[in-house]
């Protein structure tokens, strides 16, 4: 098989894996399994990026999602009842709204991907190291403002969330 056939095969494989893990997120009763299934779904997407030769993006996706979803697993254990799923509880809420929102989202994504003008497909792409270079120049050039302000916003919200979460101390001790 030629290279592009292998690429297509892996693309489909990781795509299906991502979808399958995504379904597992909602089918399983265990909260921790749900969180880690989401993690592996994102990993599959990262692998798809790498198959599509967007190496930096793929590696970054894999790295960030591992840590983020693990912290999410921790929060699920902290805040949700029955994180082990032993009681087979119905954990989903607002089903109708979710279905509708999901449907709308799907239609929007499909509309964007089919109807937007992506320009002509590139005949060849720079290799990975050149991509990283170009990405760096882009980040510090045209996109600097966006990324810096996004970074500052995230930092501010982190600090604010932490401060809000700390319970005020009553005079005399105790929370």
């Amino acid at each position: 098989m030629t290279g592009s056939v292998w690429e297509l095969f892996f693309l489909v494989f990781f795509g299906l894996a991502a979808i399958w893990f995504g379904i597992v997120v909602f089918r399983t009763h265990s909260m921790v399994r749900s969180a880690l299934a989401l993690l592996f779904s994102q990993t599959a997407i990262g692998a798809m990026f790498m198959v599509m030769q967007a190496e930096f993006l793929g590696v970054l996706q894999i790295m960030m999602m591992a840590t983020e979803m693990s912290v999410m697993a921790l929060f699920m254990v902290m805040f949700m009842m029955d994180p082990g799923g032993m009681g087979a509880m119905e954990m989903s809420h607002q089903k109708r709204l979710s279905l509708r929102a999901g449907g709308v989202g799907l239609l929007a994504a499909l509309a964007v991907s089919w109807l937007a003008d992506w320009g002509p497909a590139a005949a060849s792409i720079p290799d990975a190291s050149r991509q990283v270079e170009l990405l760096g120049i882009e980040l510090l050039g045209r996109s600097m403002f966006i990324f810096e302000s996004a970074g500052l916003t995230i930092l501010t919200s982190m600090i604010a969330a932490t401060m809000v979460a700390i319970a005020p101390r009553k005079p005399g001790g105790g929370t």
């Binding site: 509880m89 119905e90 607002q94 089903k95 109708r96 709204l97």
Partner: protein
């Protein structure tokens, strides 16, 4: 024949594996490596590795005769070991209910080495056997406890329903020998539903405005009452009928598109179908219990009159975990949504304000780093201590009736393997006090030197346990080696090794980051009954040696420290080691206390001796030269009671270090 063999034919590969196992013996020591060291066993030199958990061990090393409670605990540990597993018993009379030992020997280092050689042969030959009988014992039976999945603090010995939410209690396994019969613990009772806080949900005009202060049950809406209380059907606390009768919601999860002026129906209408809040697929025509989880079924909202042709999906009103007085309804979420914030409102919170599930974890009696034989069961709230239960599995008083003085001294010394010499001294002095004889100065000084030698050994043993707890392997090895070398050493050898011992202690004190680990940890408040090095580290001048003429002749002065935390206790024990070295050097002679001939005496005698853990007190009664009763007050008795307060709400690692710093000895405590 190895009782703990694994099933399998002895093929060539298995023989190879068995040979490897025989050379890679990993031991789990019962009652603990502190006891093994105190008995003079050098496990490292014999080539045994020690395991932190029975799952990683393949040899159960039994040191000395174990009391029955400890044998049961050892059986549980043995059952946790993966096969092939072996038992090596040194100086143990009986092992039941454990199976027979695969290798035995006397309780000496030579005996250990010989028994290990035997054991290696047994393992190499018997690790795999064609037919193996399974191992069972009464101590391994488990008992079923029942707990509520939503409220883990509710525990009952019988099946039933949770008093808080009504769910059927789920079975959970617990050890049959654990303290029985939990009283069904309830969370703080009677949190009245919060005052009516009408969430503005954009529905004006409801009947609630016209009928103020009525109360209903979240799960049984047909129950209306004029005053707060409990629902007669399920016991749940009644919530005020607020402006949000069930079934209306401006909440879009119902497929009621035109929901704006709902009529207020439910209070008067009888719902026709019932469903389970947690399993919406269960639909029933009459109230009852959900077949899957046992919760009381809730009425499905009926169609209000002004809705046209909506199809209820059967679980509209109570998606999620209803059935709890979950507080005021929140916009955008279905009514009686089981918000975790509300559900855990009354759970005890740890110091950082987080409420987490409670799990009960045993930290004894064979936990590495803690004193062997101390049964510590901690209820952890996350990783902080919520409750403590302490029990000595090696306690109990000795039956002294009818013993001759010599026998009594031996038995009494054997009762506490961690301070045998001090106990011998205590028994001898008590007997001599009863007979009103006193040993001459030379014997007394030699005895005192023996007690001091044991003090050094005991403190070094504590240091080794502390190092095991905190991961300082070099310190553990060196302290253990020094303890073993000094335990039975004559005076001149002690003097020769004194300098290296002092250098070692200096290095211990200078360990980097020791202060960060220990400072402020394990502080006991003022005015508590503490004894021994723990008291002296607080600055309390309490030492039974202070008034003793023998010690005065040796120039003894009470050494105290400041701070009273784990760091101060470490320094205190190092200081006491240095002091004991000096006392021994001045005494120049050393001999283990032996009972003198006291003739046939009748009367009472008592004595107090400063053991390495504090002052111990013994009262004996004699009749015609034989013992009648002996009352013993061990030093750790006072500290055990302080334990629960000491580690309350501490993080688990800090709590274990605090417990270790007390240097408890469970031997001889009331069981």
């Amino acid at each position: 024949m190895m009782h703990g063999a694994r099933t399998g034919m002895r093929t060539g590969l298995r023989r190879l594996i068995a040979g490897a196992m025989a050379r890679d013996l990993c031991a789990f020591v019962v009652p603990g490596s502190d006891v093994a060291r105190a008995r003079g066993l050098d496990l490292a030199r014999a080539g045994l590795h020690l395991a932190a958990t029975p799952r990683h061990a393949n040899v159960l090393l039994v040191v000395g005769t174990l009391p029955p409670d400890l044998r049961d605990a050892a059986t549980v540990a043995y059952a946790q070991m993966p096969r092939p597993r072996a038992i090596l018993a040194l100086g143990a009379d009986t092992l039941a209910p454990l199976p027979a030992a695969d290798a035995t020997g006397p309780l000496t280092q030579v005996g250990l080495v010989a028994a290990l050689a035997d054991l290696r042969r047994v393992v190499a030959n018997g690790a795999f056997a064609a037919k193996v009988t399974d191992f069972d014992a009464p101590a391994l039976q488990t008992r079923i406890e029942y707990t509520c999945p939503m409220h883990p603090e509710v525990i009952s010995d019988e099946p039933g329903n949770c008093p808080i939410c009504g769910m059927t209690l789920m079975p959970k396994e617990a050890s049959a020998s654990s303290p029985a019969a939990h009283q069904p613990k309830q969370s703080a009772p009677a949190h009245q539903p919060p005052a009516v806080a009408h969430a503005a949900h954009g529905h004006s005009t409801h009947t609630a405005a016209e009928t103020p202060a009525q109360y209903t049950c979240p799960m049984h809406l047909e129950v209306i009452s004029d005053e707060p209380g409990n629902c007669p059907k399920c016991g749940m606390f009644l919530v005020p009928v607020d402006a949000k009768p069930v079934g209306h919601s401006g909440h879009d999860h119902h497929d009621h598109h035109d929901h704006h002026d709902h009529s207020k129906h439910v209070a008067t209408e009888t719902p026709t179908q019932y469903t389970c809040p947690m399993h919406p697929e269960v639909i029933s025509d009459e109230p009852g219990s959900c077949p899957k989880c046992g919760m009381f079924l809730v009425p499905v909202e009926a169609k209000p009159e002004d809705h046209s042709g909506h199809d209820h999906d059967g679980h509209a009103g109570h998606e999620g975990h209803a059935g709890h007085s979950g507080g005021p309804a929140i916009d955008g979420i279905e009514p009686h949504f089981m918000s975790m914030v509300n559900l855990t409102r009354d759970m005890p919170a740890s110091a950082d304000g987080l409420k987490m599930e409670w799990i009960e974890v045993p930290f004894g009696p064979f936990f590495p780093g803690l004193p062997g034989g101390l049964g510590l069961t901690l209820t952890l709230d996350g990783d902080a201590i919520a409750e403590t239960r302490v029990q000595s599995l090696v306690g109990g008083s000795i039956a002294a009736d009818g013993l001759t003085p010599a026998e009594f001294v031996e038995r009494f010394a054997d009762q506490s393997p961690l301070c045998r010499v001090a106990n011998r001294q205590l028994a001898c002095l008590a007997l001599e006090n009863a007979a009103s004889v006193a040993p001459d100065a030379r014997t007394a000084t030699a005895r005192a030197a023996a007690v001091e030698r044991e003090r050094i050994a005991s403190h070094l043993g504590w240091l080794a346990s502390f190092a095991a707890q905190t991961g300082l392997v070099w310190m553990e090895r060196r302290a253990a080696a020094k303890q073993l070398s000094i335990q039975a050493a004559p005076v001149d050898q002690i003097a020769a090794n004194a300098a290296s011992l002092r250098a070692f202690l200096h290095r211990v004190r200078k360990t980097p980051l020791l202060r960060a680990k220990l400072a402020g940890n394990g502080r006991i408040g003022e005015g508590k009954p503490v004894v021994g090095p723990v008291a002296r580290a607080q600055g309390v001048q309490s030492d039974a040696r202070a008034g003793d003429w023998v010690y005065d002749a040796l120039g003894f002065q009470v050494v105290t420290g400041t701070g009273g935390d784990a760091l101060a206790r470490l320094h205190q024990r190092c200081d006491e080691i240095n002091q004991s070295l000096e006392l021994i050097a001045r005494a120049k002679e050393l001999s283990v206390p032996e009972p003198q001939n006291i003739g046939t005496v009748t009367g009472q005698g008592q004595a107090t001796v400063e053991t390495p853990r504090g002052a111990a007190h013994l009262v004996v009664e004699l009749l015609g030269g034989k013992l009648v009763t002996a009352t013993y007050r061990p030093p750790s008795a006072a500290h055990i009671d302080l334990l629960a307060d000491l580690i309350q709400a501490q993080e688990i690692a800090d709590a274990l270090v605090a417990v270790g710093s007390l240097d408890l000895s469970p031997w001889g405590l009331p069981a």
